[in-house]
């Protein structure tokens, strides 16, 4: 039954495929894993987008690694910055691996062909980035390796190029909608364990269903920023992968932590990279004041994102916002030489020009915090193996990239650490999956493997209701922006919970206008909305239970960090029918200890 | 785009003229009479206009051909391709302004 074509074996209208390793997602993490796995095992990459459309390509600023090419630096400082940046919710063993393996990760990419910017003596150039410091916070350090302001683009292209080189087998525009788990006899007699046996995908072009049986499955499906309205994330980042895991009853970790990036283009959310501030850009309020001097006297505009985003929100709340409605602040690069801007920040200046009609050479650019990065996600250990509780590994199931939570980012990710994360843990996932399939057998598929997906699709497709998908989605997103963004309170959060309850009811009555089989994006938007509702609900539910402020999660009603009670990860489990109205009926929360090795929690000051 | 379309059309037109032109010139080997009969037809006003058309076509094709060559071999050629197109059109116009009256005089005049 093994085959390398995109058609597989057709049985009863369903295509069956068999591969040792199946990777879901062709972003940075997925393709990095594929490059590791492809040459050693029969590998398939399934992606809902053509690989080069993945949102890794939108990343701008850089990728951290203590290469010390331009300034003294070492991985230990990097570890510390990561831990501190994550407000001590970081698992320090993982952070150590991240920082240590960063160096090889960058060299690997360079060797694969990535055109990094160079120092005059031909080494990889490095720039400053928020939260990255020398000697445990003494001064900003140049640690971010970059390729102009399209580092992510270059990483995505380079990884894709190498996949082409290795002849990796891609299934493009295939939407994975289900993870198959089969009950098999356990180690002890009379017990059964559930093991992953494959995934089910919907082929966009034909509307047909494909079942992929696999020994090892790697989830690398990226983030879910589309639960918010103002976001730097792509329209396609609807968290399907995380949602699938959730619906299988596997836990999600630290979902309350979402990063809001300070400098999204006002009103649009399109990101202006922190690289701008790394190169010297300054945030100003309507009075022209460099307000970050007040909040973070040492590193000012290069403070971590959570802090800056909150300071910006405070400035606006206190009436020092710019514009007719006083609802944004300014990013000022007018003091930089146009030549420097052109050489180092060409793309982001173009965004300002194209979308706001602002000429960054002469005018400051209106900016506002924008939903950017999900710190939480599918819990894994440092081998990228997915966990079914605090410690138990799900054999053969891996996750890496933004959809996963190792947790190297804790409650707030440092800029440039995610491109690093996808490379380090993407590679680990690929390697470990190959190791695993060497000895593992295929787990038999469950009976009628496609039934679940077919039922969901049939349910949505027959949607002859009256509710528009876009209305429900918009109401969800607007409410999340209003109530679960930079500032949160019990009241605001419970407002979202209640709204989701109502939206779920309306979701049962949606209208899907496109009834066709081919390229039915109408149908898919409906399915994606289902995942958005689920994830928003977990996020808010987790956020309500964390009655403290830490990193990206700021509770106005509990404005301080509370290590005594909350220096733990949140683990959320789906325990009942996700459609049941009351979140409390189907979500159970638990905690997981934070791994602390060298850095005991301290106050986080910059 | 349009420069290319014109280049192509003029190229084809000239090519077909050339085919005919070789054939008619070959008549000099048949007999002077035959040649002169055919050549006389070139001197009628209608053919006169046709010749004008030919020069128009060759003029453009040649000038634009030079432009293409510059684009191909001159390092900043691709940058100035639009400007060069304008120049081609100008030179073309000058060429025609020079040629047309004289030719028409020959054709229609005494």
């Amino acid at each position: 039954m093994t085959d390398d074509t995109t058609r597989g074996t057709l049985i009863d209208g369903i295509h069956y495929h068999q591969h040792d390793v199946v990777i879901v997602g062709a972003g940075g993490a997925g393709m990095r894993a594929a490059i590791e796995a492809g040459p050693h095992a029969n590998t398939a990459v399934i992606s809902k987008l053509y690989p080069t459309r993945s949102h890794t390509g939108a990343a701008q600023g850089g990728m951290a690694a203590a290469l010390a090419n331009v300034e003294e630096d070492n991985w230990e400082w990097h570890t510390f910055d990561t831990v501190k940046g994550g407000d001590y919710l970081v698992d320090q063993d993982a952070a150590e691996i991240l920082a240590k393996e960063a160096i090889d990760a960058v060299i690997d990419l360079e060797n694969m062909g990535l055109p990094f910017n160079r120092t005059p003596d031909g080494k990889i150039d490095q720039r400053r980035f928020g939260g990255h410091t020398a000697e445990h916070g003494k001064a900003p350090v140049r640690r971010a390796c970059y390729a102009a302001d399209r580092t992510g683009h270059m990483i995505l292209q380079t990884l894709y190029q190498n996949c082409v080189k290795h002849g990796i087998n891609f299934f493009n525009e295939f939407y994975v909608l289900d993870l198959l788990m089969t009950d098999v006899p356990g180690e002890k007699k009379g017990t059964t364990t559930r093991k992953p046996s494959g995934v089910v995908a919907y082929e966009l072009a034909t509307g047909e269903i494909h079942v992929f049986q696999a020994k090892a499955i790697i989830f690398a499906t990226g983030g879910y920023g589309k639960i918010f309205k103002t976001t730097s994330n792509a329209h396609t980042l609807t968290g399907d992968g995380v949602g699938i895991i959730w619906r299988k009853g596997l836990p999600l970790e630290d979902m309350e932590f979402f990063q809001f990036h300070p400098t999204g283009l006002a009103g649009l959310g399109i990101l202006l990279s922190e690289a701008a501030r790394g190169e010297g850009a300054i945030l100003r309020n309507s009075e022209g004041e460099r307000f970050m001097e007040r909040y973070a006297p040492t590193i000012k505009d290069l403070a971590p994102r959570d802090i800056i985003a909150r300071c910006m929100a405070t400035e606006i709340r206190e009436g020092r916002g710019g514009g007719p409605n006083k609802d944004y602040v300014f990013l000022d690069i007018t003091h930089l030489e146009p030549a420097v801007i052109d050489a180092k920040l060409p793309d982001i200046t173009e965004f300002a020009r194209t979308y706001l009609g602002v000429e960054p050479y002469y005018e400051p650019v209106p900016v506002l915090p924008t939903a950017h990065y999900a710190m939480g996600g599918i819990p894994t250990n440092v081998k990228a193996e997915v966990l079914s509780d605090n410690t138990t590994v799900v054999p053969g199931l891996y996750a890496a990239g933004e959809c996963a939570c190792v947790s190297v980012h804790g409650s707030n990710r440092l800029g440039t650490n995610s491109l690093l994360d996808i490379n380090v843990f993407g590679k680990r996932a690929g390697k470990n999956a190959v190791e695993y399939v060497k000895t593992a057998e295929f787990v038999p598929l469950p009976v009628d493997p496609a039934a679940g997906v077919l039922a969901v699709l049939a349910g949505v497709r027959k949607g002859n209701g009256t509710e528009r998908i876009s209305d429900i989605r918009r109401e969800l997103q607007e409410s999340m922006d209003r109530n679960a963004q930079v500032y949160r309170t019990e009241k605001s959060l419970s407002e979202v919970t209640e709204l989701i309850e109502r939206l779920r009811a309306r979701y049962k009555n949606i209208a899907v206008q496109d009834k066709g089989k081919r390229f039915n994006t109408d149908l898919l938007e409906a399915v994606e909305l289902g995942f958005l509702l689920d994830l928003a609900e977990v996020l808010v539910y987790s956020a309500r239970s964390r009655k403290e402020s830490r990193g990206g999660h700021f509770r106005e009603d509990f404005p301080t960090r509370d290590d005594a009670n909350y220096l733990v990860h949140t683990m959320a489990y789906l325990t009942g029918d996700p459609e049941s109205a009351d979140a409390g009926e189907h979500i159970r929360l638990d905690t997981k200890p934070v791994v602390i090795t060298n850095y005991p929690p301290m106050e986080r000051k910059y | 785009m349009w420069s290319w379309v014109l280049h192509r059309i003029t190229g084809v037109a000239i090519f077909f003229f050339l085919l005919v032109h070789i054939l008619d010139t070959a008549l000099v080997r048949v007999s002077p009479e035959a040649y002169n009969v055919v050549i006389d037809s070139y001197k009628t006003p209608i053919m006169g206009l046709g010749e004008l058309g030919l020069v128009v076509a060759i003029g453009f094709h040649a000038l634009n051909g030079l432009r293409i060559i510059l684009i191909d071999f001159w390092s900043v050629g691709p940058k100035y391709h639009k400007l060069m197109f304008v120049v081609v059109i100008l030179l073309w116009a000058i060429l025609l302004i020079g040629f047309t009256p004289r030719h028409l005089m020959h054709v229609f005049g005494g």
Binding site: L49, Y50, T52, R53, S54, G57, A58, V106, I107, E110, N111, G113, P115, F116, N117, R118, P120, G122, K123, R150, H153, Q157, Q161, V164, K165, A234, H235, T236, I270, R284, E287, G288, R290, G322, G323, P324, N325, F330, D332, F351, T354, Y355, L356, Y362, P364, P366, R468, I469, S470, D514, G516, K517, R518, D522 | M1, I68, I71, D72, P78, H81
Partner: protein, 251 residues
């Protein structure tokens, strides 16, 4: 420090006026139609809206069956190249106010690739051409650290590293329209990116591949590709440089 330019209170008036734009979209449903057909839609848009926003409004509010690709919505993923008023552009980078509003906006799929549905074409032949030029670093040596490259050497191929494989160029090329076998500008751009990379040792292989009946010599310097490229890549120039390299026999 004073920031005199901060008093730009004029931008974005409090109530942003909307206006009605008419989009005429070339629809094609493979399950029903034998030929594509044009369909009109009126949408309320803001001056800052992009064509992609208008398409979304149609899909989300009027006709859910309207089908197009998109992802990043800010011109970096290459999903939404389409023909807008006869020009290839990214819908997410084309502001409606920048179009001629006295006329309706015509939107159709890019040309030269098999039309699948509405604004979606089959991209597989395009990616096949890309893969055929061996678009990856070919270098035998395996250094333990980074390969060295001077900033000048890095700058040499900077322009062509910007490509997002959107196909706006290839699908605007009149040669490609009539001869789908032509590698097309995008593939050549991506070959250029490696041919002129000082670290690469496979330039000769790629030059040989492109020194083909369907290679660079097919290009008629029509510049459509350069005009279409949303990343501002000097595509024709890149092709020209590859021709020169083939003639020289080395990059």
């Amino acid at each position: 420090m004073s920031a005199p330019t901060l008093e730009r209170e004029s931008s974005a008036p409090e109530v942003i006026p909307t206006f009605t734009a008419t989009l005429i979209i070339r629809r094609f449903d493979p399950e029903v139609d034998t030929e594509p057909r044009w369909e009109d839609f009126d949408v309320e848009v803001y001056p800052t809206d992009r064509v992609l926003d208008a398409l979304h409004k149609i899909k989300w509010e009027q006709d859910g069956s309207l089908t197009f690709r998109r992802s990043c919505a800010h011109g970096v993923c290459g999903s939404d190249a389409m023909r807008i008023n006869g020009r290839n552009r990214l819908a997410c980078k084309t502001l409606i106010k920048d179009l001629d509003l006295s006329k309706p906006i015509y939107v159709e799929a890019i040309k030269g690739l098999p039309l699948e549905k509405d604004l979606i074409v089959n991209m597989d032949p395009f990616f096949k051409s890309f893969a055929d030029v061996q678009p990856f670093l070919i270098a035998a040596s395996k250094p333990d650290k980074e390969r060295r490259q001077s900033p000048a050497e890095r700058e040499r191929f900077d322009d062509t590293t910007k490509c997002i494989l959107c196909a706006a160029c290839t699908s605007s090329c009149p040669v490609f329209w009539t001869d789908g076998q032509y590698f097309g500008p995008a593939a050549i751009v991506n070959a250029h990116r490696f041919i002129f990379d000082s670290r690469d040792e496979g330039a000769q292989v790629r030059l040989d591949i492109l020194n083909d009946k369907e290679g660079v010599w097919r290009c008629r310097t029509t510049f459509n590709c350069t005009e279409a490229c949303p990343r501002g890549i000097q595509v024709t120039q890149a092709i020209s440089e590859v021709k020169q390299a083939i003639m020289r026999g080395k990059p």
